[in-house]
């Protein structure tokens, strides 16, 4: 028996010694050497399934494709969208003709020069792919008129066009390369004009990007970016602390004090370009009654949701427009917490003895907590809520495809910082059901207001969206709950990081000191 014990002990020792010997490999991100570091590891919340930005709406895909591809316009830091990959975009007086002037210096990563044909092809590809339908629907035609100019004609004035062109859906690709690879090939072998090119993609493990030394706006400081999927937030936090990754988005709010007390880490935060909302199906028998919806508005206390479910990270939403989007107005009067008023409204609606509703939601830790608080608050005024947490596919089927739900919680993410990007798809009658309008509002009045807001001049935009929001809140279609914060935590040495409401970061702006 002694021998067995000895063997066991030896094995344990061998293991622990091996463990100690493994020191070198443990901190790949903290490699030393002379001069500033030129490589970084970026933690993504999930692995992208494709790197073709025109065929999916996924933040993880866009995180990578923003490094691989460029867009014609880009935000300038003060909220305006300005020409980026082209020399100029001239808009006609009537707002219907966009003349894009080519930047002749731009080269693709395969060495070929960017042409007007490529630009027209890329925009046409987006239109044909059917994604970004809310943006592409305004484009009547796009044409490379000569070697220097592309003319894009709109069918109606659209004040979000410059912003749309900055969204990943309007990435500029090489016509010849796309035709050679085909749609399938582009998913795994992207090639653009971007600051980085794809070097390696090990399925499930990592994606490696290498600097494009011939980038038209100058070679980036970070030469190698490794993107690793880290699905668990606790794991992401530990990987940050252990120096295994240099950046990670949206850590658990409760970890923020730990980060602030850690000199090796830095946290950046800003409002996200989305609104956490309670959606109501106005086609439901009970919820078609406006008074019931208004009662729900009055029964929900947003501050409790922020404290109880979001660890205080967020502010009460007053409008369905995210704060960071053009068209947002802080003066929009949001719902007021007034349980007495809620009871009165329910009584007027004929439900003085209470009523029952089902709140269905996709499996998600935060939303599950939000749902419990809403259940408790609605319970106070006599609305008995049953929570039905569903597996993701079943939820999408129920809410989007079939539309036979009562209440649900969700956030609609904007693609560029304009109210249009969140409002149109969610509330226009043309987007009914699966395309985004899950509240099933089909009034001509609201759709008309939305069309007018999309055509309004920049100076009238806020007023136009105020009218839209007033309509939505008056009829209580959707209850905006919280403006959530989005954060990025990086190693302290990483500079050039600006918090992004869209959660998309440009690696080319990053550098180490």
């Amino acid at each position: 028996m002694k021998k067995v014990l000895a063997l066991l002990l030896a094995a344990v020792m061998a293991f622990s010694m091996a463990a100690c010997g493994g020191n070198g490999g443990s901190s790949s991100a903290a490699a030393g050497g002379d001069g500033p570091r030129t490589s970084m590891v970026y933690g993504m919340s999930a692995e992208p399934s494709t790197l073709d930005p025109m065929n999916i709406a996924s933040m993880n895909t866009f995180t990578v494709t923003y490094a691989l591809y460029d867009t014609l316009t880009a935000p300038d830091g003060s909220g305006n969208y300005v020409p980026y990959l082209c020399d100029d975009v001239q808009v006609s007086e009537d707002g219907l003709t966009y003349t894009i002037i080519l930047n002749k210096e731009v080269k693709f990563q395969d060495g070929t020069t960017l042409t007007t044909e490529d630009i027209a092809f890329s925009i046409q590809r987006t239109i044909d792919a059917g994604w970004a339908a809310d943006m592409a629907r305004y484009i009547e035609s796009v044409e490379a008129v000569d070697e220097n100019t592309v003319v894009m004609t709109l069918n109606a004035p659209f004040n979000g066009m410059m912003g749309s062109l900055a969204s990943p859906f309007f990435s500029i690709m090489s016509k010849a390369y796309c035709e050679e690879k085909g749609d399938e090939g582009l998913k795994r072998a992207p090639m653009g004009t971007g600051a980085y090119k794809l070097a390696e993609w090990v399925s499930g493990d990592h994606i490696t990007l290498e600097a494009n030394e011939d980038y038209f706006a100058g070679a980036p400081a970070i030469k190698t970016v490794t993107l690793r999927p880290i699905t668990d937030k606790n794991t992401g936090m530990i990987a940050l602390e252990a120096g295994e990754i240099d950046a990670f988005l949206n850590v658990n709010p409760s970890d923020i004090p730990t980060i602030e007390g850690n000199p090796d880490l830095k946290l950046y935060s800003c409002d996200a370009a989305s609104v956490l909302s309670l959606n109501m199906n106005v086609e439901d028998e009970i919820l078609s009654n406006e008074k019931v919806r208004q009662a729900i508005f009055a029964a929900v206390n947003k501050d409790d949701i922020i404290a109880g479910a979001l660890e205080g990270l967020g502010t009460a939403a007053n409008s369905p427009v995210p704060t960071v989007c053009a068209g947002y107005s802080a003066s929009t009067p949001g719902s007021v917490y007034d349980p007495e008023q809620a009871r009165t409204l329910l009584k007027e609606a004929g439900y003085e003895n209470g009523l029952s509703l089902t709140l269905c939601l996709k499996e998600d830790n935060t939303n599950q907590k939000v749902a419990q608080i809403i259940k408790s608050q609605l319970g106070e005024v006599g609305i008995d809520v049953t929570i039905d947490i569903m597996e993701g596919g079943a939820w999408t089927d129920k809410v989007y495809t079939n539309g036979d739900y009562q209440l649900t919680i969700g956030s609609w993410f904007s693609m560029f910082l304009d109210a249009y990007s969140v409002m149109y798809s969610q509330f226009h009658k043309d987007c009914y059901g699966g395309t985004g309008n899950i509240t099933h509002v089909t009034t001509d009045e609201l759709s008309g207001l939305l069309d007018a807001a999309a055509a309004a001049s920049d100076s009238d935009k806020v007023a136009a969206y105020d009218a839209v929001c007033a309509n939505i809140l008056e009829h209580a279609y959707q209850l905006p709950l919280v403006y959530q914060q989005t954060t990025i935590t990086t190693s302290a040495g990483l500079k050039g990081v600006e918090p992004s409401p869209l959660g998309v970061y440009m690696f080319k702006d990053f550098y180490f000191e």
């Binding site: 066991l8 463990a19 490999g25 901190s27």
Partner: protein
């Protein structure tokens, strides 16, 4: 024996056929639409319909099932709906991670579990017995995400001796394998203890003792050898679980294994990946169990004579 093995392999084919039908049915019956999952919530119904046609999802159930097998027998398991990669390739890149993890965990569990079980049985009701049983069970009942997190905090953050995440080096496997091994270890300790207790009371053990054999030889050669049968069963069964059930641990340690692939595929209704992954695990698992049964024959002559007959 070889006749028996052939027969078992033949049965494996039947098992795989049965599983493929069940899994295919499950994937088709559960709500959620692969095309919708690929395109996301905001896709228009026309886009969904177009993609369904491209993927062949608009065909009747049995046509699709038949097409799956038509491809599979030619070695073509199709492409993932999500990534468009050939499924078989994808599985082959993921499987080694899971196999390494499961093997390492099984190794740790056996190396510690069997000896501790034997000691517990020999010293029944002693302090060693009590302490080792309680400890093993406590470790086994700590949820794996907590266990993983604690190990990461201690070994990756405090001591900085092991990596917390990834699969870059063999050291990366130590923490996840230890986390994964606890449940199997506890099962092994209890199973070993329980079968050993039975074995050391058998006549042949008494006889061996009476003949004057050394106590260690009695325990190891006579009792343990006979107690091995159920122990090997547990190892076989649990190995299958380890191959298919490493999801939480893969996510906590962010390892690119089969478990994450399978769970993502299930959630995304990526039928080709689910089918191929489940069948792959099944075949691996059946082979392990076949091996277990062959080992049976070697450690238990009674079972061997049965095989010779049938």
């Amino acid at each position: 024996m070889s006749k028996y093995i052939l027969k078992r392999l033949g049965m494996m084919v039947l098992v795989v056929l049965g599983i493929s039908l069940i899994v295919f049915t499950i994937m088709n019956l559960t709500p959620g639409n692969a095309a919708q999952m690929i395109l996301g919530q905001s896709a228009s119904p026309e886009q969904v319909a177009k993609l369904e046609a491209e993927l062949g999802l608009d065909q009747p159930f049995f046509v699709r099932y038949f097409n799956f097998w038509k491809g599979a027998v030619q070695g073509d398991f199709g492409k993932s709906y999500q990534t468009s990669l050939p499924v078989f390739e994808e599985i082959l890149t993921r499987f080694p991670t899971t196999l390494k993890l499961a093997t390492a965990a099984m190794f740790i569990a056996t190396l510690i579990g069997v000896p501790v079980g034997v000691i517990s049985a020999v010293r029944q009701y002693s302090l060693v017995d009590g302490v080792s049983m309680v400890t093993a069970m406590l470790f086994a009942s700590i949820p794996s995400f907590v266990m993983g997190l604690l190990l990461q905090l201690e070994f990756a953050l405090n001591l900085r001796v092991l990596p917390a995440t990834g699969a870059a080096s063999w050291q990366s496997y130590i923490l996840p394998a230890v986390t994964l091994s606890t449940a199997t270890m506890a099962t092994l300790i209890r199973m070993t203890r329980s079968t050993m207790l039975e074995a050391i009371r058998q006549d042949y053990v008494r006889t061996a003792r009476a003949k004057g054999a050394a106590e260690r030889s009695v325990v190891l050669n006579h009792a343990l050898r006979n107690a091995l049968l159920p122990i090997v069963t547990v190892i076989g069964v649990d190995f299958g679980y380890l191959l298919g059930g490493t999801v939480v641990i893969e996510s906590v340690f962010s390892l690119p294994g089969l478990g994450t692939l399978l769970i993502t595929a299930i959630r995304m209704k990526d039928t080709p990946v689910v089918m191929a992954a489940v069948m792959f695990v099944t075949i691996a698992y059946s082979l392990v169990n076949l091996l277990v049964d062959i080992i049976y024959a070697f450690i238990d002559p009674r079972v061997k004579s049965q095989y010779a007959k049938g």
